[in-house]
Every structure is written in C-alpha cells, then in structure tokens.
Symmetry: C2
Subunit: 225 residues, 2 copies
DNA sequence: AAATGTGAAGAGGTTCACAGCG
DNA sequence: CGCTGTGAACCTCTTCACATTT
C-alpha cells in the first residue's frame, strides 16, 4: 500500500475496517426489511440466518461491536437504534451528487442503476467524448462533452465521480476529477487507478471477475459439460 | 469459509491463489499491448511501470513464479511465451457461453459489455420475468420468460450464468442454474449467494462499493466541499 | 440461561531481503 | 552486475472460545 488512504477514517471517534462496510450495508438492508415485517429485536445468529448464513455470527458481533455497545447480553440487538446507527455510519443520511464520465453501455447502466436504486443518489452531470452521445438526455440531465468537464462541474457540485471510459482515458479523467475537488471515485475501467491522499478510489474489475470464473472452469476436469 | 470452493484449483499441476487472477489478467492485458508495440522482453519492474505502479514488482514476480519458471535471471521475461502462459492459465483460449438472467438496465448493460469486450464471450440466452421485456431481441437472442429457463437451457449450452435480478429472486435463480449444471455464476444482486461445491460464484456488490465511498465522505471533515 | 463483546489464535496474502543464477 | 525466485517476516482480517452481563 503506497498511500495512506487505507488507514481507517474516524467517524464519531470510531475507526472502521474498510472491508466491514459492505457487510454493515448488508446488515442495514436486511434489518430494514425485518423491521418493516414487525420484528423489534434480533440476535447475531438470527441476522446471520436472514443473510442466508453468508456471514458468520461472530463476524457480525465483531462488526457491530465496532460501532459501540448496541447489543444486550442475553437478549440480542434492538433493531431500530441499530438501523439508525448503521445509516449514520454508512453515510446513508446524506444525499450524494454523482458525475458520470463515459456514457457508453456501462456508464448508462450504472447511471440508471445508481439513480433507480435509492433516491439519495442524484446523477447531476454526465460526460462523454463521442459526438454521437454528447447532447443526449437522460432524465433531466444533458450529456456534455468531456472537454467541458471543468466548466460544468464548477457550476454543478458533485461528491462522487463514476469513471466508465476506456482504459487509456481513465487515469487522466481521474486526475481531472480529483483536481476539481471530487474525493470519491468509482472506476469501471480495467486499469486500476492510483490517486494521492484525499481522493478515494474503488475499482470495479468486471473483466478480472470474469477471469476468475474462466480460470475456474478451465481448471475443472470437463469444460462445457 | 463454509464450503471447499475456496481451495485453489489445480491446472497443469499448479495451484493459483484466487486473488492473484485479476492481477494475472491485468498483466496479460498490458503485455499484449507491449508486444504489439514491438517489445520482446520485460522486467518485473517494467511491468509494474506499465501498470502505473498499482502493483509492486515483488508481487508481480511472486504471481508469475507460480506459473512456472518463465523469467530469465538477470534479463527479465520474454513477453511472447509469458502471454501464452497467462492466456492458458486464465482460460482465455476457450470460448464461453453466457446465460443472462434479468434483463433490466444492469443485465442489459452487462450483456453488451461482456459481448462487446471480447469475442470469446457469447451471450447465448437471456431471461426475464417481466412481460414487457420477454420477447425483446438483443442481437440474435430473444429474451425468454424466466419460467422457461430449464427448457431453453437444455437446448442451449451455457457455461456461465449472470444474475441481474432483484435480491429476493437471486438465490432461487442461482439454485436453478446450478441444477442445470452451470458451475460459474456472476451475481449482481445485493444478496451474496451461497452455493455448494462444484458451483463457483462471484458477487459484485455495487451497493457495497458505493457504501464504502459514502462512508469515507461522511467521515471527511467537510462534506460537499 | 442466553447471547454479547473481546482477547487470542489462525488463516491468507503482501512485502521484504537476499540467495541464486545467467 | 542485474533481475528472478523464494523463504521469512509482516500485516490484516476472520474464527474461535469464553468471560461477562442481564
């Protein structure tokens, strides 16, 4: 690890393990459902069951204990304050403005996904380099030319950048977004991005995931049934 | 880890670390470029440079040494046999037939992505539950009703299943695909899937990745500039 | 009695340093 | 001398076992 981004950030005086966060998000999701279904308390084992036992109960207890003393020994957890704590820690209370760069199939799909998923994400700006795509509308956003990124983003405030451009362009787009003060990037380009301190990047490596699958299948004795 | 899927599979007598595979794929990608540009040899440090120093050179040497003795001490690696070895190990020599289940925005985008990316992936069947989507055509594939999955897939051979359905349906779709003999699944639903031995699953947790970003931004001193 | 919270052990992967070899 | 290949140290996260508390 070259830069200090992987040091856990402190929120309300607690430091969270980065890998635990998707799990916390999963807890939040199923707890909201359980609460809607009328449940008021839950045990770590019960939560593991709701998650299909994809996460072990000691792991759940360890994750939750990092958020403070939320459980009751002998009883379990009260769902409502637990959900509130999770929402606060995960930043689910804020609204986020997203800039999507690259509006090919992947960018388009992610835009629809992110906007449709929850109303806390607003796609505020979309950019592309292709004249065929620039000028298209998506809901009330018009796709702007990527050369106009600095100009547009000085008017439209965005917190999160989504990079869905070809590998060759990804690093330069990332640098430009970082220079504009955007500190969180989600990168779908196959090149892993590398940015310095206050900017935080997540790389989604779809081709890499596919490679894992094709490797496993190649290693199986009988490929293709 | 509950099931034995995470034991490294052996291919040509070697066992590969699962997390190394996306890296091997990245090496393959940039080496193909370097070879096309006329380079014939490369060192581990040179390869790290091509990757923008996102991967350290000792890591590269360790990854490559697992594939056999491919390097020449004092010289580096000869690109051509290295590329061939990587392609073989990653299953890049085979063609793969993909079944996409769920043809909403995510499913549609991924279908286009996977098919457009490289010609070794063929989307051979598409399923959806919505009457509005069933019957649509994508290239020469007609979207079939998900209830017909067993019937269709008994005719059309598929090696890889892509799950892009809502969380509530994901596990049951996965079970049905597994029962049909599909042993590799890529899951975009927020529920992590859990399947027994010969089936291998990769979960792409886009919502979880976004949570990491919103958590980081919430923990920053000044949210939204 | 039941279930949390946690120190300790374990597992897995990365980094380091250097021996080995062309 | 240069660069690979690798055992050992290191680090991070997960699992375990149990003391603790209601």
């Amino acid at each position: 690890m070259i830069d200090p981004i992987h040091q856990p950030l402190r929120l309300d005086g607690i430091g969270l393990n980065e890998v635990s966060i998707p799990r916390l998000y999963a807890y939040h999701r199923v707890l909201v459902q359980a609460h809607a279904a009328g449940k008021t308390t839950i045990t770590s084992h019960g939560l593991a069951a709701l998650l299909g036992h994809t996460i072990a109960s000691p792991q759940i207890r360890k994750d939750l204990s990092a958020l403070g003393t939320l459980g009751h020994r002998g009883r379990g957890y009260t769902i409502e304050p637990l959900v509130e704590r999770l929402a606060h820690v995960l930043g689910l209370e804020h609204d986020w403005h997203v800039a999507v760069v690259g509006f090919g199939y992947l960018g388009h799909a992610f835009t629809t996904f992110i906007a449709g998923r929850e109303r806390r994400f607003h796609v505020a700006a979309i950019f592309d380099a292709s004249p065929a795509i620039v000028g298209q509308r998506w809901q009330d956003v018009t796709v702007a030319d990527v050369t106009q990124m600095e100009r547009v983003l000085s008017h439209v405030n965005c917190n999160i950048g989504v990079i869905a451009v070809p590998a060759s362009a990804a690093q330069s787009i990332a640098d430009r977004l970082a220079a504009l003060g955007i500190r969180a990037l989600l990168n779908f380009a196959p090149t892993p991005l590398h940015l310095r301190a206050p900017v935080f990047v997540r790389n989604i490596d779809l081709a890499g995931e596919l490679s894992i699958l094709t490797h496993r299948l190649s290693a199986e004795p009988n490929v293709g049934e």
